[in-house]
């Protein structure tokens, strides 16, 4: 069976009938375990004290903020090339989840930054590109809401998504390009000097897995909602035609 067959709304709904409850349950379990483990059962860090516990929400949220945009980029490209409606609706469904994750990353980063850097905000390369990504998310959502014709909205938002990918890419790699700025390098790295200690990384991996499943569950739920909303619009349009 080809992946493209799930572009058929009926097949997508049948598949997600099964996948959605499992991903939601997995998300609830892993997020609870990761966050409870991280909050209650990890020690203070030598330099950061108890603020290190913020890592268990900040890093997964930041990772999803960026990767949600990349997921939207892929589904937008699928829409532009193959005109599968489900893929355009999946991109639309992912945006509110992505913007929430970006907001969480910005808030928790600012709250964490104050005691560590002495300021809530700095025009650091990573922070700035994250802020621009947040604005792109808002613009993307606003554009979907502003255009009545669904296919035109999908076309224009797809183009916006491609442009915004530059900032998603910068948010991910800014700390590698520029050495100036307050934000440290990657928390999870193959480089042992940079990588966080195992006592923090294990619950962090659990939390990240939980956030990923949470993202999957919400995007599936919201895509199903968008498919149903599209069906309602089609039925109402047909009723009007028949009545005329």
């Amino acid at each position: 069976m080809s992946l493209w067959e799930y572009a058929n709304p009926r097949r997508f709904m049948r598949l997600t009938d099964v996948v959605l409850p499992w991903s939601a349950a997995g998300a609830a379990l892993l997020m609870a375990v990761g966050l409870i483990w991280g909050f209650f059962f990890t020690p203070d860090e030598v330099q950061q004290g108890s603020t290190v516990k913020i890592i268990f929400i900040h890093v997964p949220a930041a990772m999803l903020a960026i990767n949600a945009w990349f997921m939207m980029l892929v589904t937008s490209l699928v829409w532009l090339v193959r005109r599968h409606h489900v893929s355009a609706l999946a991109a639309k469904a992912a945006a509110p989840v992505g913007v929430t994750m970006t907001l969480i990353a910005l808030f928790t980063g600012a709250i964490w930054g104050e005691p560590m850097w002495g300021t809530y905000w700095a025009w650091d390369p990573r922070l700035t590109s994250f802020m621009i990504l947040f604005v792109f998310y808002l613009g993307y959502i606003a554009l979907w809401a502003a255009i009545e014709d669904a296919d035109t909205a999908a076309d224009l938002t797809s183009i916006l998504c491609i442009v915004g990918s530059v900032f998603a890419f910068l948010s991910r790699y800014a700390v590698m390009f520029w050495n100036q700025g307050l934000h440290q390098g990657e928390s999870l790295s193959l480089d042992k000097k940079q990588h966080v200690a195992d006592v923090f990384s294990t619950p962090l991996y659990v939390s990240i897995a939980g956030f990923i499943l949470f993202f999957i569950a919400l995007v599936l739920l919201r895509t199903r909602t968008e498919i149903r909303a599209r069906r309602i619009s089609a039925l109402i349009a047909r009723e009007r035609q028949e009545a005329a």
Partner: protein
Amino acid sequence: MPDLGKYTDTVLGAYAVALILIAVLTVQSLLKAAKVKRTLSQTEKRRQKNGKQRG
């Protein structure tokens, strides 16, 4: 509750903001899903009824 020392407000504030935003997003998604599902069901029933009346 672990002893968070002088950073109690910072850590609790970060968790509170994150958990509230996650809860709001989840509840909003579930409510919208339920509303749209109900509306679709009503629309399909209405169409079936109208179709039978015409037939």
